[in-house]
């Protein structure tokens, strides 16, 4: 699969794994820990082979999310660069105090005398049959906390690049992976420069309507764009990638061109990060908008386990197509 440019075809989960290899090789002060990450190689295989290569620089922990995050903070304050795994984003709530009250505060209350260069990897979203405590999309909760950086890779290349950016950052960063994307593949170089955290990406240029999405909804938005292209509609898809720092100007530029905005995320509607994008667009793009902003999101409901019920609440490409239809039909 090697090609002349050095790019390799890799799965999302392999990309995560390679970024972790890179981190432990690049930073002598890097440490990795979490539940089942060392000997078992991670519940999804993200940390496979690291223990064999790096020994006790990666270790298994008790099922203690608060201790995992707090220990990462204390170690980071004392010169380490921890990369920790929280198995499901739902479990991060056990460590909410440590993440928000402790990690996010370290730099501010000390005016930068203390820093917390740590990375929290977790994964989120539904999968068929996943239950109410293994399905939530919680990125907006953390994007609301100043002091934290929040990124959601939607593809294998970003899984590699964004995790490297997170680890290289001297701020605490949360990376929300998506386990339904773990088997998706992408082709990219491994030795490129490490980007700073932040930055959206136009993943499909278009002229009729702007769709802003992140994580797995980018994949759904691209499917929607493909389907609508058959009918002659040109849909621009923007992968937001990072909620913090938020790179909004490409969104504003796009809306300036298309006049129509659809926002898609898997998280519940109310208070989802789509509300922030909508508010900014309503302010910054008010005179450019030709139609009301449309939001595609899970309704305000707990996430059910039975696939028949999940299908009713998890947004898909067809929901996005419908929302695009609303954006295009009104005031046209």
């Amino acid at each position: 699969m090697a090609d002349p440019t050095g790019a390799r075809e890799l799965r999302y989960i392999q990309a995560v794994n390679l970024a972790l290899h890179w981190a432990l090789e690049t930073y002598p002060e890097a440490l990795a820990f979490g539940e089942d990450v060392a000997l078992p190689g991670g519940p999804f295989g993200a940390t496979k082979g690291l223990y064999e290569k790096f020994g006790n620089r990666i270790f298994d922990t008790p099922i203690s999310e608060a201790a995992i995050v707090g220990a990462a903070l204390g170690a980071a304050m004392r010169g380490r660069r921890p990369i920790i795994e929280i198995m499901y984003s739902d479990f991060s709530l056990v460590a909410m105090d440590q993440i928000v009250n402790q990690v996010a505060n370290a730099r501010y209350v000390s005016r930068g005398k203390w820093t917390a260069p740590l990375t929290i990897r977790t994964q989120e979203g539904y999968s068929p049959g996943s239950c109410a405590q293994h399905s939530q999309s919680l990125e907006a909760w953390y994007a609301h906390a100043p002091g934290l950086r929040v990124g959601l890779p939607s593809n294998a290349r970003d899984a590699y690049e964004m995790l490297r950016s997170a680890i290289a950052s001297d701020d605490p960063v949360m990376i929300f992976e998506n386990r339904l994307l773990y088997s998706t593949t992408g082709q990219f170089e491994l030795d490129g420069p490490v980007e700073p955290v932040g930055g959206t990406r136009i993943v499909r240029p278009g002229s009729d309507v702007t769709v802003v999405a992140w994580s797995r909804m980018v994949v759904e938005a691209l499917k929607a764009a493909d389907a609508l292209a058959l009918g002659g509609r040109s849909v621009e898809v923007i992968d937001l990638r990072w909620l913090s720092p938020l790179d909004f100007s490409p969104v504003a530029d796009s809306v300036h061109r298309t006049g129509r905005l659809v926002i898609a995320h898997e998280a519940n509607l109310t208070g989802g990060f789509g509300a922030e994008i909508a508010a900014r667009a309503a302010h910054d793009c008010f005179w450019d908008l030709d139609a009301p902003i449309q939001r595609v999101a899970a309704p305000d409901v707990r996430i059910p386990a039975a696939p028949a019920l999940q299908e009713a609440v998890i947004p898909t490409a067809s929901w996005i197509i419908e929302a695009i239809g609303h954006a295009l039909e009104q005031h046209e």
């Binding site: 220990a71 204390g74 304050m77 440590q98 002091g147 720092p245």
Partner: protein
């Protein structure tokens, strides 16, 4: 407290009057390379760790102190050069962080020890349980000092925890636990010193319960109506400085005079520090949004 009552200190303060022997005894056993983590009742730890009184008072007064520039105030004093990871106003929230500082020492070759103070009420926090087990599993060089001042904020700890002494909790983690008289600075020093040595030599964490009594309220506005009549007065007879005065009295006039001189010097130092702190300007409001990110 005078500064609080005079309205010079905004917000609440949580004083450690009566508990001074614990940070003093504990900090005598550690070195500059070691890490110290405290609670919101941590002024004593900050002073015992060697932070400047001027900076400390400036921070309390909401001024642009060299410590946190007014971002921390009474509850989040910290100082990187002193290895003082800081206070914490989430009960028990510092223990996982202190365990992390101990974890760092396993990797950086420093042989540093991490010492963390918590109150009796913190033993009811899940994060403390998680962190104690975590530290025990990896034999982290951590010393947890439980300052048992009999009240979990405003509720008697004996009504909230069934086991006594609290140091028995150590058994649950397979680590050494000990209860000492926390008003006896020598006992504290001896017990913490042994735990620090053990931690530094790979013997893992310890839990030390230091029995003490609070001479003031949980916080500056606490009327303490929940405390039995006479309890605080009796505690004043047993507090560490009263004890020292009794010992001095038995030694004779020379000791009493020396103690009086120390008291005067201490008051002069504090008055001087407060006066200097008042000369430090308030932080520039334009900087309020700085330092959120690097």
């Amino acid at each position: 407290m005078e500064l609080k009552l005079a309205g010079e200190i905004p917000g609440s303060i949580h004083l450690c009057s009566g508990q001074e022997a614990i940070p003093v005894g504990a900090c005598r056993t550690i070195e500059p390379r070691d890490a110290v983590t405290a609670t919101y009742r941590g002024h004593g730890w900050a002073i015992a760790r060697g932070l400047s009184l001027v900076d400390l008072f400036a921070e309390l007064l909401g001024r642009d102190s060299a410590l946190c520039g007014g971002r921390g105030a009474s509850l989040y004093l910290s100082s990187a050069p002193h290895g003082f990871l800081g206070e914490n106003s989430i009960v028990g929230g510092g223990v996982p962080i202190a365990a992390g500082a101990a974890l760092a020492a396993l990797y950086d070759g420093s042989s540093a020890v991490s010492i963390v103070s918590i109150g009796d009420g913190a033993l009811s926090q899940g994060a403390v349980h998680e962190a104690l087990n975590f530290a025990a599993v990896y034999a982290l060089p951590l010393v947890v000092v439980v300052e048992n001042n009999l009240y979990s904020e405003m509720t008697p700890v004996r009504t909230m925890v069934r086991i006594e002494p609290l140091s028995r909790r150590a058994d649950a983690y397979g680590i050494p636990g000990e209860t000492v008289d926390g008003n006896d600075v020598d006992q504290v020093q001896k017990a913490v010193g042994a735990a620090v040595d053990r931690a530094r030599n790979g013997g893992g964490p310890s839990l030390i319960e230091a029995m003490t009594e609070r001479l003031m309220g949980h916080y500056s506005g606490d009327a303490q109506q929940y405390r039995p009549k006479g309890e605080v007065a009796a505690a004043r007879e047993r507090e560490p400085l009263a004890r020292l005065r009794k010992v001095a009295a038995m030694q004779g006039q020379e000791w009493i005079r020396r103690l009086e001189a120390i008291d005067r010097d201490a008051m002069d130092i504090i008055d001087g520090a407060v006066a200097s702190a008042r000369q430090i300007p308030f932080p520039d409001a334009a900087t309020a949004t700085e330092h959120v990110y690097g």
